[in-house]
């Protein structure tokens, strides 16, 4: 059966802006940024983990009609497109402060939960992101 998740995908409305955010602010690493002519194949991952890539895909034709792309953009903007990413961190509060300093807007401050300390934010387009510091074993 399956042995790993290699690719996940989320929709972003602008790939340059997505790079600024995911790499420039969240500190992810670019795995591939290739203009294939028919699409820009842009993937990022947690630094040192290229085996698990996130495709930052822009909705649009010819993969879908312009009308559908408009609906996808609207759903992303409403925060209901379903592009959720949950990261693990060693120190939730420290990471939170660092990102706050970079101008990242949070939806939830670091909070203690049964599963650890975590907080929530959105990317510039509406996708929801969390990062969690697991409880000490």
């Amino acid at each position: 059966m399956f042995t790993a998740i290699t690719h996940s995908q989320i929709y972003v409305l602008d790939q340059d802006e997505a790079l600024d955010f995911y790499v420039g602010k969240l500190g992810l690493e670019v795995n591939a940024d290739v203009d294939l002519g028919f699409m820009r194949w842009l993937t990022v991952s947690v630094p040192g983990h290229p085996e698990r890539q996130i495709l930052l895909e822009r909705p649009g034709p010819p993969a879908m009609s312009e009308e559908t792309a408009g609906q996808v953009r609207e759903l992303v903007t409403k925060g209901v497109m379903g592009g959720h990413l949950v990261f693990a961190t060693e120190d939730c509060r420290k990471t939170y402060e660092a990102l706050l300093g970079l101008g990242v807007e949070f939806t939830e401050e670091p909070t203690e939960r049964p599963y650890g300390i975590d907080c929530g934010l959105r990317d510039p387009f509406g996708n929801s992101i969390r990062f969690t510091q697991p409880p000490k074993a």
């Binding site: 591939a32 294939l36 002519g37 194949w41 034709p61 010819p62 993969a63």
Partner: protein
Amino acid sequence: MLRARDAMDRAYAQSLDVPALARVAHVSPAHFARTFRATFGETPHRYLQRRRVERAMFLLRETDHSVTDICFEVGFGSPGTFSRTFHDIVGRSPRTYRKEAKGSAGAGGAGRAADAVAAGAVGVPTCFVMAWTRPRA
């Protein structure tokens, strides 16, 4: 609807008419044609044509099969219909397209051959290539 569209992406070479696709979608033919169009922005017939032409473009670039063989390989019933449909969607004949694609491999222009190599090198899953190289309406 998506199940019927996936069937076209997968079995584009078979003779898929509206009644057959409607059966895949478990709805009446009239309802199928109307709903497909409302959902994906084009008729099922046009969607299938563009999928077949996309596959034909791929075969023209990547293989030495004759234009007539490719016509039947991707599911067209006659070379006349194939040429007419291809010209209508791509803006040039299959032969001209092949000449341009082979001539410009590595250069710009219709350099889809180089794009395909790049996609292979980065390990782009085929569903993304097929979605994004489908000729525009």
